[in-house]
């Protein structure tokens, strides 16, 4: 491969490249599960990520939904997510299944990682249904590091369990597949060993499964059992890529951020220079204090508590949930 020098100027010039990704491929990977391969429209590098990370996808119509990245990060030019159709959901997954097609553009936030893979001497992975997705890159990582691992993967039926066949074929008896209609509910207490120094349990899936994992691991030290629960994102009325108003309190400037520009670009256009560096929401240089309004955080830095505080934002990628933002500039 020729090094994509085209990626550099695009990333440097602070274009709207970070705003949206193109659906390069859409595939049914299991009953009720579609996988989307996402790339930058200009083909450039995507922001780096680590196993356990998720992205926010901003769907047409303003839904923002979080999906774990389950692709290969040695491919810097595409992300992969897998989306389960949830009949009881709030419409995001149904929208993806019914309306998202190859070639469509989706807004991007993150990637962020609240479920990072910490070093261990052995890993016990537990997946329930679509909760397999963040564990896929973790398994790749454990393989790369030569760290022993095993996986318990439960689902409703064999055909609903995304990536089950590939995992079983590639890793043999390290992988235990438990379709509920064939095997019943997994006996976690039986499968999970007692606590061992340096061992870690990573579990992702529905709340009931995670409660069962916690129960089965009640003798484990807390830092050695790590879980990620799929929760519906707070129902926020995102402006998506739409325009919004910004007031700069100190200078008294008012400006409009158009749909095809970043806040950072709009600020520069209005003569307000904010120091930045990576322009991908990764480095934290362009942190700006928010005085009023609700930021739509698209960065990789703030955790949920920081986000909820709503008192700062990274203007290189983040936008606004409210029609108007007031910044301390």
């Amino acid at each position: 491969m020729v090094m994509k020098s085209s990626a550099a100027p695009a990333a440097n010039s602070g274009t709207a490249a970070a705003l949206s990704l193109r659906v390069a491929r859409r595939a049914e990977v299991a009953d009720g599960v579609v996988s989307l391969t996402l790339t930058r429209p200009d083909g450039g590098r995507l922001p780096d990520w680590t196993p356990g990370a998720h992205v926010d996808l901003v769907l047409p119509g303003g839904f923002t939904r979080q999906y774990s990245l389950c692709g290969d990060r040695w491919d810097a030019h595409s992300y992969r997510v897998a989306v389960l159709r949830e009949p009881g959901g709030r419409g995001g997954s149904a929208f993806v299944h019914e309306h998202v097609r190859e070639g469509d553009l989706l807004g991007l936030g993150g990637p962020r990682n609240n479920f990072a893979l910490a070093p261990a001497r052995e890993y016990h992975f537990v997946a329930g249904g679509i909760g397999i997705t963040p564990l896929i890159p973790m398994i790749t990582q454990a393989e790369l590091l030569g760290v022993p691992w095993r996986l318990l993967y439960g689902g409703r039926t064999r055909s609903s369990m995304a990536f089950a066949g590939e995992l079983a074929r590639a890793h043999g008896d390290r992988v235990r597949l438990l379709p509920e209609d064939e095997c019943g509910r997994p006996d976690l207490a039986d499968w999970l060993p007692g606590p061992a120094p340096g061992a870690k349990v990573y579990a992702c899936g529905p709340g009931g499964l995670l409660d069962a994992v916690r129960g089965a691991c009640d003798r484990w030290p807390p830092g050695q059992v790590r879980t990620e629960r799929f929760v519906a994102a707070a129902a926020a009325d995102s402006t998506g890529g739409r325009e919004f108003e910004v007031e700069l309190r100190r200078s008294g400037t008012r400006l409009t951020v158009g749909r095809d520009q970043t806040l950072l670009q709009a600020l520069a256009g209005a003569g307000t220079q904010v120091l930045s560096s990576c322009r991908q929401g990764l480095c934290g240089t362009c942190e700006t204090t928010v005085l009023d309004g609700v930021p739509d955080h698209r960065d990789s830095i703030l955790d949920e508590t920081d986000r909820a505080a709503g008192d700062c934002m990274f203007v290189c990628v983040s936008r606004s949930h409210s029609e108007r933002l007031v910044l301390d500039l």
Binding site: M1, V2, M3, K4, S5, A7, A8, P9, A11, N12, G14, R45, D48, T50, P51, R73, W74, A76, N113, A116, L117, A118, P119, A120, Q141, L144, L145, G198, K200, P221, G223, Q224, A268, Q273, L275, S276, S277, C278, R279, C283, G284, T285, C286, E287, I301, D306, C312
Partner: protein, 401 residues
């Protein structure tokens, strides 16, 4: 890329970028490298060099193709034993790089530093008040060294005794990224003593309970990194957190001492302090160079570099590339220096950049309050290092408000 019938010939140069006269003034070589072509073969060390912004930025960002675990100096760790156990951050790639980086990013992140802002502003005022008792002083020792050494070791939680080891330890570590020349030879006889103190400071028992060091050990207690990794992560702070900041502040002070109109501009708008620091980092590039190693045969702008090849990226040259920057040699606070590569770029970008910015902002704000004019009072003297662009001394004269 344009189609050609014959493969392009890669430019080559026989100049040693680590020769004393080049280190004393690297700008002419940087210009020659940029103009010779996107990739230049350096005969002196058998490595390929990149000096244009576009290619330096792209290589630093692409950790998949240009690895760090084989060393970010001339030595190739695939073949040579490093002089000390490799850094878990600077000299590591994913996946091993992930956990140490995640921990340090949080420990040194802007939100973690909020609690230091007020204290460092007061420390800076106290230091400036003390220094300004004289109207002439050496800006390197009195300010550029004194301020980081006043606040950073305390923030890490180091013992008072032995802090004089920090600067020579870092200086040697940055020399060691270059070839084994006279600069390395000069530091080698003393490094064991410095390293012993530095390594000792990295242990849990010797770190204060409320500093960056303790926060790293707390991450080990949570299982985010291992207890074996924790001291090496602390060591990264001590290696890369002192000399770099000192020389960046030296660059900043030199820039203002030689650009009185920019000093007036800063005094008129002290909010420019952060931009001023990054502009100084762009203009002077305290970290001049880093190497990467190719993970496969890779073509860069028509030149194929074989797997395992060392690539020397000239951050300083990229930061003055006229293809990227208007009037790149001028130090100008009206410029937007954003996206300079003085802190690197990508997953290895300086994890302490927010600490450095806060130190600089604190010191510069305190100086701007009290100093009306600053100018050179004698010829400044360079301090040579294989990687760092540094001042050894800088006599200045000030007129206070």
């Amino acid at each position: 890329m344009t189609e050609t019938d014959t493969p392009p010939v890669t430019a080559s140069l026989d100049t040693d970028p680590f020769a004393p006269d080049v280190l004393a003034n690297p700008l002419p070589l940087q210009a020659r490298l940029r103009d010779a072509g996107p990739v230049v073969y350096l005969e002196s060390h058998g490595v390929h060099a990149l000096a244009r912004y576009e290619h330096v930025h792209a290589v630093l960002s692409d950790w998949q193709t240009f690895q760090s675990a084989a060393g970010v100096g001339l030595a190739n760790f695939r073949e040579e034993k490093p002089w000390r156990p490799p850094s878990l951050l600077l000299e590591a790639d994913p996946p091993l790089h992930d956990a140490p980086r995640a921990v340090l990013s949080r420990v040194l992140g802007p939100r973690a530093l909020r609690g230091l802002r007020q204290a460092w502003a007061e420390d800076a005022r106290a230091l400036v008040d003390q220094v300004l008792r004289d109207t002439e002083f050496d800006a390197v020792t009195a300010l550029a060294q004194a301020f980081p050494l006043r606040v950073f070791p305390d923030a890490v939680g180091l013992e008072e005794e032995g802090r004089h080891h920090l600067l020579p330890y870092g200086d040697h570590a940055f020399n060691a990224f270059g070839p084994p020349n006279a600069l390395v030879d000069k530091g080698a006889p003393h490094i064991a003593g410095h390293a012993e103190w530095v390594n000792g400071q990295c242990t849990r028992e010797r770190l204060a309970p409320d500093g960056f060091g303790a926060a790293i050990w707390a991450a080990a207690d949570r299982g985010d990194v291992t207890a074996e990794q924790a001291p090496l992560i602390v060591r990264s702070l001590l290696t890369a957190g002192v000399d770099t900041t000192v020389h960046a502040l030296g660059a900043l002070l030199y820039a203002f001492a030689t650009h009185p109109e920019q000093w007036r501009r800063l005094r008129a708008d002290p909010g420019l302090a952060r931009v001023a620091f990054d502009e100084a980092v762009r203009w002077e590039s305290p970290v001049q160079t880093f190497f990467r190693t190719t993970t496969r045969d890779v073509e860069i702008a028509g030149t194929t570099v074989p797997d395992g090849g060392k690539i020397l990226t000239f951050l300083g040259a990229a930061n003055r590339d006229p293809r990227r920057w208007d009037d790149p040699d001028s130090f100008d606070l009206t410029r937007d220096p954003s996206a300079h590569v003085g802190f690197g770029m990508g997953i290895h970008q300086c994890v302490g950049q927010h600490v450095a910015r806060l130190e600089a902002e604190s010191l510069l704000t305190a100086l701007a309050e009290r100093v009306e004019e600053i100018e050179l009072a004698g010829a400044p003297r360079r301090h040579l290092n294989n990687t760092l662009r540094a001042w050894g001394s800088m006599p200045v004269r000030v007129r206070t408000v």
